[in-house]
């Protein structure tokens, strides 16, 4: 029993470096496995559509006719189901988060030989 049991810890914390960081001036280095956003190396992609079937939130759309791969970054929950299922390992989980945007939109990547597909809205770019 007694009072001021936390006094020691609180006093010590006055002389310690702050636990917080001044984000976004100081951005913490992400861990190797940090779930940021999914990216597709479209040249290695065979547009098999397995990622579209595995996605639990229907965020991915594969268009074989136009040779495009589209992801809705606002539906994606970074569960890695697509990355794990990809037979060509062309999908990767990047460690940087998607940047904030003023409008929801789709990110579409197209094979080089195909004409670039029109984008529904300004595509948010990866932060960091």
């Amino acid at each position: 029993m007694g009072s001021f049991k936390l006094g020691g810890m609180t006093t010590r914390s006055l002389f310690k470096k702050s636990e917080c960081q001044m984000y976004p001036v100081n951005v913490r280095e992400p861990f190797e496995r940090t779930k940021g956003h999914v990216s597709n190396d479209i040249e290695a992609c065979i547009l098999c559509g397995i990622c579209e079937k595995k996605c639990p939130c229907e965020a991915i759309a594969v268009n074989k006719a136009e040779k495009t791969w589209t992801i809705d970054v606002y539906r994606c929950i970074q569960c890695r189901a697509c990355v794990l299922a990809c037979p060509k390992d062309c999908l990767t989980m990047e460690t940087t988060y998607s940047a904030p945007a003023t409008a929801k939109g789709l990110v579409t990547v197209a094979k080089a030989e195909a004409a670039p597909a029109p984008e529904a809205a300004p595509a948010p770019e990866a932060a960091g």
Binding site: L6, R33, C79
Partner: protein
């Protein structure tokens, strides 16, 4: 009998992280009766099992709750594996228990912080959450997520943790233990904390048993009830496991049980890291649960015993999936403990069952 008034408590209230509503029937400052109401955040996640296949539903299951997320994916996978007769590799069992016990540590430290905030000890709240960040960093390093890991899947775990990293986790926990000791000392011995918790909201052993309380709420009332003693998964390999119990059944007993369980979880992790078997962590799962196959499964979540039920129908979509969460079992005990208390003690009594309404309503 004085005049009775009804004071609405919640669903939006500073001490409640999640919405639950109580109608408090008051006589002056004394609560005569508390009438609970839930249903503010029902999301129909159990129904979704018919729209997402059993592999996709893992990601839905872990979104049932924001704190015991890993526990729900663990419980769901254990249930589906039972349904399909899959035995997962021992290393995956160990990793699951290590992540689950780390989740317990983070959940209990989070709760201690919330409780400190509830009785107005802001500095204790800040220090608790600062310490919790160290556990969240372990999660992020090993799985990539702070709260939602997506590390558990039907057939094992998605990630392995190298033996060096496992030793590193034990070292981090040893460092945390020293600092945590100081926090726990404040919680259990500081007179200002004790004066808010001792003798408040008593739930006797008989009441806890009759009202089917579970988890730290039951153990704080003297019921040695813990699913970990049944030896599911890697818990079977523990040399000894005794649930921590306290007899007094008041808010302080429940807080004490949680405070000591953090240290117990650190010891469990240390023991399992020492015994960690080598090998694969993931089995390739094919096929679907048989039609009519049913399984009951349970795990000890940070808040108590959680039941899972699943029924297959021969396709990759389950016929039925049902969860009985610990908070649902603890609400009758909470209402009983509230009767006769002072209005100022209501937030503490509500907090000490560690209500998780997201789990309860799903």
């Amino acid at each position: 009998m004085g005049t009775r008034t009804i004071i609405p408590f919640g669903p939006q209230h500073p001490v409640l992280p999640e919405p639950v509503h109580l109608d408090l029937v008051m006589e002056d400052e004394t609560v005569v009766q508390a009438i609970p109401q839930i249903g503010f955040i029902h999301r129909g996640l159990e129904k979704l099992v018919q729209k997402r296949d059993y592999m996709q539903f893992v990601y839905v299951a872990e979104r049932i709750c924001g704190i015991c997320a890993f526990g729900h994916s663990y419980g769901y996978c254990q249930t589906v594996e039972g349904l399909m007769g899959i035995e997962i590799p021992p290393r995956a069992e160990y990793l699951r228990v290590i992540w689950h016990e780390l989740s317990r540590i983070h959940s209990h430290i989070l709760w201690l912080g919330l409780a400190a905030d509830g009785f107005g000890f802001e500095a204790l709240f800040m220090h608790c959450w600062r310490l919790r960040e160290k556990v969240l960093d372990i999660f992020e390093r090993t799985t990539g997520g702070r709260v939602i890991f997506s590390a558990c899947n039907v057939g094992g775990t998605v990630f392995d943790i190298s033996d060096e990293d496992l030793k590193g986790i034990v070292e981090i926990l040893d460092g945390l233990k020293a600092e945590y000791g100081e926090l726990a000392n404040t919680f259990l011995k500081d007179s200002s904390v004790r004066s808010r918790l001792v003798g408040v909201g008593v739930l006797t052993k008989e009441q806890a048993y009759a009202l089917s309380a579970c988890g730290p709420t039951a153990r704080g009332s003297g019921l040695a009830h813990d699913i970990r003693t049944l030896g599911y998964g890697a818990y079977a390999d523990l040399a000894a496991f005794e649930p921590i119990t306290r007899e007094s059944g008041d808010c302080f007993a429940r807080a004490e049980v949680r405070a000591l369980e953090v240290l117990q979880s650190i010891e469990i992790i240390r023991e399992l890291v020492g015994k960690m078997p080598a090998g694969e962590v993931m089995l390739k799962v094919k096929g679907a649960p048989e039609a009519g196959a049913q399984v009951f499964s349970r795990i000890e979540q940070p808040r108590g015993e959680c039941y899972y039920y699943a029924k297959g129908n021969g396709t990759k979509y389950l016929e039925r999936f049902r969860i009985r969460t610990p908070t649902m079992a603890n609400i009758p005990g909470m209402v009983t403990a509230l009767a006769g208390c002072q209005l100022a003690d209501v937030p503490m009594i509500v907090l000490t069952i560690d209500p998780c309404i997201s789990c309860t309503e799903r």
